[in-house]
């Protein structure tokens, strides 16, 4: 099994500089079609300019095909973004659309950056992102490593494991609220069954100490398969002959794991970290339905604070400033990370 790996927009072609991830599968159908195409080409009279003259030129087709997508993104993504940038410099409130809009300069940005609640939310988000990624990487990689043993029925069980990540985080998160109920909830019951702690003695969602872990557990349950799937692709991209060579050199299994498996799967692991970090930084739906940010503000991640500022306090200008800061942070960090990732990949 081979895997191909790509992060730039440019297509990976068979003649591109050799990369160890790059193997283009050529199937039988490909060759037969190729032959047919070649035969057609031979039969036809060579007329290199003929198809350039008839119909639209390639250049205009390229623009014709790409423009609708760009136009849609400009209208629904970029125009609102520019509007948000503008609003972030004003005192506009969306619940008072007719009030006079005044420019306030950088005040909104200053207030956001000096607001202890917002820093609290950033800390909560960081805690959430750190632990979910750590747990998901450990469990996900271990699972991938075990599935790569190719035991009987591994394909079936892999599909079963993948199911949670495809489901709606909102709808499933809402149901976890039921599982976490003290007394009647299944989670508390199972925990008390194995530990003997009375099931009504702790509240996963109601206690300040436990609620951050309640959302981490649900996120880990949901997204470990995602990490597992990417790690599995990484493990399968390592050619057998490297292990065979290591075996000839009498490298121990432990040594093989740390000198071959981990470094060669690293770009994939890093990619999984990137995708999970971006997603969890934006986390909203699952948390809002499980805890609503509570108790108090112990699970109030950045998106929930943003929603409160924008749609409950209606401080649209300030919320816009916060949104821009968040976007710049994610975008900047992701860019730096992708550069690091590409370095690891080229090693």
């Amino acid at each position: 099994m081979t895997a191909r790996f790509r992060l730039s927009g440019r297509a990976v072609r068979p003649d591109a500089p050799a990369s160890r991830f790059l193997v283009t599968p050529v199937t039988d159908t490909d060759t037969s079609l190729m032959d047919k195409a070649a035969a057609k080409a031979v039969r036809a009279t060579p007329a290199p300019l003929a198809f350039r003259v008839r119909g639209l030129s390639d250049r205009s087709i390229a623009w014709l095909f790409i423009t609708p997508t760009i136009a849609l993104l400009l209208a629904i993504n970029i125009f609102p973004l520019i509007w948000a940038v503008y609003l972030s410099f004003t005192n506009f409130r969306a619940n008072r659309p007719n009030a006079e809009i005044n420019g306030v300069g950088l005040t909104n940005y200053q207030r956001v950056l000096n607001d202890p609640d917002i820093w609290q939310a950033m800390q909560t988000t960081a805690h959430f992102v750190f632990w979910t990624i750590l747990l998901q990487m450990l469990i996900g990689f271990a699972l991938a490593y075990l599935i790569d043993r190719k035991f009987r029925g591994h394909a079936f069980w892999t599909t079963v494991i993948l199911i949670p990540m495809m489901l709606s985080p909102a709808v499933v998160g809402n149901f976890w609220r039921f599982l976490y109920q003290p007394q009647i909830g299944l989670f508390n019951y199972i925990y008390s069954f194995f530990t003997g702690v009375p099931p009504s003695s702790f509240e996963m969602l109601g206690s300040v100490a436990l609620s951050p872990w309640a959302i981490i557990i649900v996120d880990t349950w949901m997204w470990t398969p995602y990490v597992m799937l990417i790690c599995l692709a990484g493990l399968r991209s390592i050619p057998d002959y490297i292990y065979e060579a290591a075996e000839v050199d009498r490298a121990s299994a432990w040594r093989q794991f740390w000198s071959i498996t981990v470094p060669m799967a690293l770009p994939f692991i890093m990619l999984a970290v990137l995708f999970r970090a971006i997603e969890n930084f934006k986390m909203f739906d699952m948390v809002v339905l499980l805890t609503g940010g509570g108790p108090g503000s112990t699970t109030e991640v950045a998106s929930i604070t943003l929603k409160r500022e924008a749609f409950e306090s209606w401080r649209t200008g300030r919320a816009s400033a916060f949104a821009i800061i968040l976007f710049v942070a994610v975008f900047g960090l992701a860019n730096i990370y992708v550069k690091a990732l590409n370095k690891v990949k080229q090693r």
Binding site: L56, L73, F151, S168, A170, F175, R236, L271
Partner: protein, 317 residues
Amino acid sequence: MSTANSAHSVVEPSSTSKRIAGAIVILYAVITMVPLAWIFLTSFKSPPDSISYPPKIVFQPTLEGYCNLFTTRTRQTPDYIQSLGAPTSTCDEITRNRNMVIAGPSNYWPRFQNSLIIAFGSTFLAVSLGTLAAYGFSRFKVPLADDLLFFILSTRMMPPIAVAIPIYLMYRQLGLSDTALGMILLYTAVNVSLAVWLLKGFIDEIPREYEEAAMIDGYTRLQAFWKVVLPQATTGIAATAIFCLIFAWNEYAFAVLLTSGSAQTAPPFIPTIIGEGGQDWPAVAAGTTIFLVPILVFTILLRKQLLRGITFGAVRK
């Protein structure tokens, strides 16, 4: 599993290690299925059974949850219920046993319909636009192609709430708030980035020689695209469509902020299902079950393409 062969291979794990690996993975798979199994079981419980302690695994299955999901009910006196005559349906009977009568349909089905319309509408648009753009990026030298592609991807990095603030204002101005059209356009814009990235990968894999041969045969570029490239890309287009569909189906943040009534989809609606004295968990479970089943089917259909879809085509198998 042939132990005789694997004994000679240095890379083939031993059968004991395979068995241990299998046991751990199966254990994990079973544990992760527990919450989903619980949703399914709860949907067939009566409300008292659903909140009993200890949690009941063996119970008398009933359709009460599904009945409550699709209806609204009012409490009546036993005398009034007696005077109504024979119940006309199973749900009618179940409801009357609780001293209630069915007052009318609930909002679940309209919300579910909205989900269908918005998910399929936006998927169709996103895949159509995405296929065209992907072909453009794959086959032609587009100036700043990498920048444009990265721009398309970066639109996915925004927290949905950050996007929702200006969209909310814009839709209010344009009269698109709480309309299916507004939601379709928004989900199309979100999905089109995924569609372009995935489809570009799929189209890159179709050799250019096919179209070139067709064009030498007298096809125009458009005809070659339509008659040669599209049929070759069917699998990729289908997989991309399912990914877009799943996103639109599952989406919550935009839906809860931008819709309130007529265009509300199922995800913001399901948590609001309440019965007398709190959340009606069997009805919530029933709504959740119905909502999750299509995704379950799609996941199984997609399992070979999943990796590609969830990484925006960055990892291919």
